[in-house]
């Protein structure tokens, strides 16, 4: 479903992604882990078509995302959603208006139907009480969940999550993890999750890939990652200070 083929990306001369190749299968939950600044979010933005690689290709269902005209990108994005780290809610609209935004803008349904869809999605994310609140009046975790609700109303086939559980309490993290699993189980949704939260990664992942200094150094099932021989991966997943990763 998603293929990154020899993707290389530099920012101001600094190599962020170096010859990265990933193949994500349909219906899979693929988790990318790694230290801050190793290019996890950049990888996600490549898949979303928000960033183009310097070289290499990003293929979604066999269609090239990089370099594609906006019309093609929009078509590829029709069944794709991104849950941004900050929620990325439009700050002058209420939570309810934010969640309804894609449906209102694309005039998909009548007003009453949109209202029903919004209410349902806010309910499953425990946000019904926040419907009429402004983004500035809710917590970071609620913003993130509202961002997820805005993605869910579009019934996407592919959801990209940028740190979906960071800043959430353990119970709410579990709600999000279960939802990712539920979306996969019931609707066959493919998910790509970028996270530091190893507990969450083990819960949701079918496969975990670790990015280190712009390269994928290991990609395997959660069980194998847990028992890895790779000293870098082991140090990272166990959160150890001693090891090959430079913590300075």
């Amino acid at each position: 479903m998603i293929e990154l083929v020899n993707v290389r990306k530099t920012f101001n001369g600094r190599v962020v992604l170096d010859d990265v190749s990933i193949d994500i299968r349909k219906g899979e939950t693929f988790v990318i882990i790694g230290q801050s600044g190793t290019g996890k979010t950049v990888t996600l933005r490549h898949i979303a078509g928000l960033v183009d690689p310097d070289s290499g290709d990003v293929l979604i269902n066999g269609m090239r995302m990089n370099g594609a005209p906006r019309r093609v990108r929009n078509r590829l994005r029709e069944k794709m959603g991104v849950v941004f780290q900050s929620g990325a809610l439009i700050n002058w609209m209420t939570v309810g208006e934010n969640v309804a935004l894609p449906l209102v803008e694309h005039r998909k349904y009548p007003k009453k139907k949109i209202e029903e869809i919004v209410d349902y999605n806010l309910k499953i994310l425990h946000l019904s009480d926040a419907k009429d609140k402004m983004p500035a009046d809710i917590s970071g975790g609620m913003k993130k969940r509202a961002g997820l609700a805005r993605v869910l109303v579009r019934n996407p086939d592919l959801i990209l999550y940028d740190e979906p559980t960071s800043g959430l309490d353990p119970v709410m993290s579990r709600v999000i993890d279960d939802l990712i699993r539920q979306m996969q189980r019931e609707f066959g949704v493919t998910s790509v999750v970028v996270t530091h939260d190893m507990a969450s990664a083990y819960r949701v992942a079918d496969r975990i890939a670790m990015l280190y200094r712009g390269e994928i150094i290991e990609c395997d099932t959660p069980e194998r990652i847990r028992n890895t021989e790779n000293p870098i991966v082991r140090q990272f997943i166990n959160g150890e200070l001693e090891g090959p990763i430079d913590v300075a």
Binding site: A48, N74, R77, E78, A88, N91, L101, P102, H106
Partner: protein
């Protein structure tokens, strides 16, 4: 060598900026067919551009008219022609100072706010979120602002001209001892149809320039708060320069043959 590279990079950067402003303008034209669907946002932006700038516009226009009248009055007084102040104030206000003053005030107040607002949305990933929902940021954010400002700038210009002329009258009456009747007789004598429509045309064009430049700068913002600040500052500078240059071009087009 490094000087040449830096200058070259700067020049390319300027060209890229100019190109992006043109792209934003072209897309705005394309999406203006959807303006009726965005009437609520357009009215909101018109309110911000018009009503919320009223106090600053009032003070600036009043004093512009007063300064014009006083400076001209001093000269005219040497020839006992103080009443001519009315002719000079209305001609200057309708042709140049009205649209120019309104444009400067709205660049500083509304244009900078547009750049800051869109810049903040850009760095907080809200623009990316719109792109991911296949919602064009130009259709959703820029088009209503451009339409609102291109409507409101001529309206504000009329207000500035009226108030500036009144300010000139106050000075004429109280400092140059020209009666109100005589002042307004001279004002009406020099109030030309051509000057009015050229002035309004300028205001309309300035409205498009300010909003397109400011929104384009906002959409290009990066690097957090510093980037937003930079986008805001650049939007004001570029708008000022373009207002001066385009203002001259319009004047030359309509009045150049009179030379």
């Amino acid at each position: 060598m490094s000087f040449n590279i830096t200058s070259g990079e700067k020049f390319l950067g300027m060209l890229e900026q100019a190109g992006f402003i043109i792209v934003v303008f072209a897309e705005t034209l394309f999406y203006s067919k959807n303006a009726f669907g965005k009437w609520r946002e357009i009215f909101k932006q018109m309110y911000i551009a018009g009503v919320k700038s009223l106090l600053v516009c009032s003070i600036v226009s009043l004093f512009t008219g007063m300064i014009l009248a006083l400076q001209a009055g001093i000269e005219f007084a040497t020839y006992q022609q103080e009443a001519m102040v009315g002719n000079l104030v209305i001609a200057t206000m309708t042709r140049e100072m009205g649209p120019f003053t309104a444009a400067l005030v709205l660049t500083a107040s509304v244009g900078s706010a547009m750049a800051a607002e869109l810049g903040t949305m850009k760095v907080s990933e809200e623009i990316d979120a719109l792109e991911m929902m296949a919602i064009s940021p130009v259709k959703f954010l820029v088009m209503p602002r451009v339409i609102a400002l291109s409507i409101m700038l001529p309206v504000v210009t009329v207000y500035v001209v009226v108030l500036g002329t009144f300010g000139g009258g106050v000075v004429a009456n109280y400092q140059l001892l020209v009666s109100w009747d005589l002042y307004y007789e001279h004002v009406l004598e020099s109030l030309q149809f051509k000057a009015t429509y050229v002035g309004l045309l300028k205001a309309y064009v300035f409205g498009i320039i300010i909003s397109c430049v400011s929104c384009a700068q906002g959409l290009k913002a990066q690097n957090g708060a510093i980037g937003v600040g930079q986008a805001t500052r650049t939007s004001v500078i570029v708008s000022f320069l373009m207002i001066l240059i385009v203002g001259y071009i319009i004047t030359a087009l309509f009045y150049g043959k009179a030379l």
